[in-house]
Symmetry: C2
Subunit: 342 residues, 2 copies
DNA sequence: ACTTCTTTTTAGATCGATCTATTAAATCGA
DNA sequence: TCGATTTAATAGATCGATCTAAAAAGAAGT
């Protein structure tokens, strides 16, 4: 039953409709200087022959592109999958098709993905850069006239658009909240100090302490990968400290979840024995028990902004590099009791 | 500082190396009948000029494709994002680039996405079909010699490969487990009865009852969207029933989470007042409190299999349509107490 | 009827690569 | 040394569309 259909090209359509290839092309694209009768004839032939437009060939000739490359760290990570949703939905509105790549935070993989995407003639790239990657990488792409938008992670020296969140503010409101609740000894858990986002959050954390007349105890700062395992690792280190802090600000929600799971396993009551604030407001934060008080990074909106900035470039904007910094918001839930009176 | 580099083509490379375009092309691809000295010369010129291979143009001429279309329901859904991970990682190994589309379960959107992907000359398509979509859709693509692999959701009448899970078995082991724990009155919550996966799970659920000499009470079956909200909706309906069942099998984990959140909100103890078994084993299932006992759908593996089947077709396999059915596994956690003795 | 202007259509070159078929150079055997 | 064979390099057509520039057809003005 499987009959092999020959590939139908525009030339076949043109011949079937009794016009030239050029006319068929113009008709297809709804050019105003094709007579309506002719256009209808061409459209009918297309229908009849089962013609499929070859956008690839069209793009080759007209030197443009309807695809966009998207490079993120990982898909199995709620933060990035939310970001992906935001970007994907917005680009879809602009008729752009997304080509996906994940780096697992390896600059080498990132390099390979970028090459592949260039070979596929993407019109632009949205990049959440792997740590340790070079701004030279980005600038090399820009010099090929392919716009790049950085998202979530900035890259010093890259001359392109950037969308991120105000990490300083985020760290600050988290710490302010805990201080207001009466906490005086607050840990800072997880993440890597070489990431710009970590530095920002820490800075805000510190300045909230300063503003309240408190000093930050840097022996309560522990770094780790930004994973659930990282959280488990870091809470174990923290529990060796004496006296224990009454609260902890976690670099992100995933770490907070690891921390709290381990606490419960050890017979502690997360949120009560140690109050916890997370970061990102991933979907899990609302379903964990206790529900996690966290700093919302408006992740989807961040993705949408990135998509819009890129679209503007694709439409020819030559403006200076834009920077969009979103305001974080504290989402108060149930993971922060006031400190025990002892 | 921004100098506009002209696009470097293979012809430029050839001229720079002092050979013909054809030779440059062969050298680039490592053809055995190009002298090593010549190849080195060409490679050096490529390097020097900053040449970027245009895979799109190459694919046009050689009539093949390095891209694959992937169509799923939604990204912000742990099940599908796990599936995506499995597919994406495996395709990446084959050097295939993924073009992404989400249907939100709308056949109309699905149709549009398929068209777009065909226009982009994808080599093949992995599809988790929207409910109510037509097998004709798939067969039309197949008749264009573009292989399709269905994943997770089958489509009656579509003559192509399929990877799924044994839903009957899954429903059965879930019910068996609850029955063994002593439950005699078990609800079936969420999902839509028109989905083939729902029907399978229900069938297994029923047959486990039958095998234990129990009868299924169909007034304890409630349908809903497969979302957290669906779970909330469906537990409210269930709680109006009297006497209450002692256990519930949920169509998937997301529903189970909605159910349990709402239970807790109403002062009930999820897992104790009503024992809960979920389906899919999404990452959240392990972090929810209580940790959810669930039927693992081996989601990533499912994705990997789908990718492999497609790759086989792309390499020219003309075998009859293949069907891969994965065995589900019960993951016992903490959401199933035995029934209260009253 | 003839020029002028507009509208509609088209031939042929082109995008950047690969393919086919052929030629040029090198190697070899007698 | 010369033809036969193998190896290396190339010219020109081609993939399926768009673009440019020019031609053909139709409408309008005098």
């Amino acid at each position: 039953m499987k009959q092999k259909k020959r590939h139908v090209t525009l030339l076949d359509v043109a011949e079937h409709a009794g016009v030239s290839r050029a006319t068929a092309s113009l008709a297809l694209r709804g050019s105003p200087n094709i007579a309506k009768a002719t256009r209808d004839k061409v459209l009918a032939s297309m229908q009849e022959l089962g013609y499929v437009y070859d956008r690839i060939a069209a793009n080759l000739r007209s030197r443009d592109s309807t695809t966009v490359g998207l490079i993120i760290m990982e898909l199995a990570n709620p933060f990035y999958s939310e970001l992906l949703v935001g970007i994907h939905q917005e680009l879809d509105k602009f008729g752009k098709t997304v080509i996906l790549g994940t780096t697992f935070d390896s600059p080498a993989i990132q390099e390979r993905l970028l090459s592949t995407m260039l070979e596929h003639r993407v019109g632009g790239i949205i990049l959440s850069a792997a740590p340790g990657s070079d701004s030279e990488t980005v600038n090399r792409i820009l010099s090929r006239d392919i716009p790049v938008v950085l998202v979530n992670r900035t890259l010093r020296g890259a001359e392109c658009d950037y969308v991120g969140i105000d990490n300083v503010k985020g760290g600050q409101i988290a710490a302010e909240y805990l201080i207001k609740k009466g906490h005086r000894s607050i840990a800072f858990l997880g993440g890597y100090s070489k990431l710009s986002s970590w530095q920002g959050r820490k800075q805000g954390f510190d300045s909230a302490h300063l503003a309240a007349g408190l000093t930050v105890d840097n022996s309560l700062v522990f770094e780790s990968p930004a994973t659930r395992e990282g959280g488990i690792e870091v809470i174990q280190k923290l529990l060796k400290v004496s006296p224990l802090p009454t609260a902890a600000f976690c670099y992100n929600d995933t770490i907070a979840i690891g921390v709290m799971m381990k606490m419960r396993e050890l017979g502690l009551v997360p949120g009560k024995d140690i109050a916890i604030v997370g970061f990102d407001d991933i979907p899990e934060a609302a379903i964990f028990s206790p529900k996690i008080t966290t700093v919302s990074a408006c992740t989807r909106m961040m993705g949408a902004y990135a998509a819009r900035l890129l679209q503007a470039r694709l439409e020819g904007s030559e403006a200076d590099p834009q920077t969009v910094i979103l305001e974080p918001e504290l989402v108060v839930r149930q993971s922060c009791s006031p400190p025990d009176e002892t």
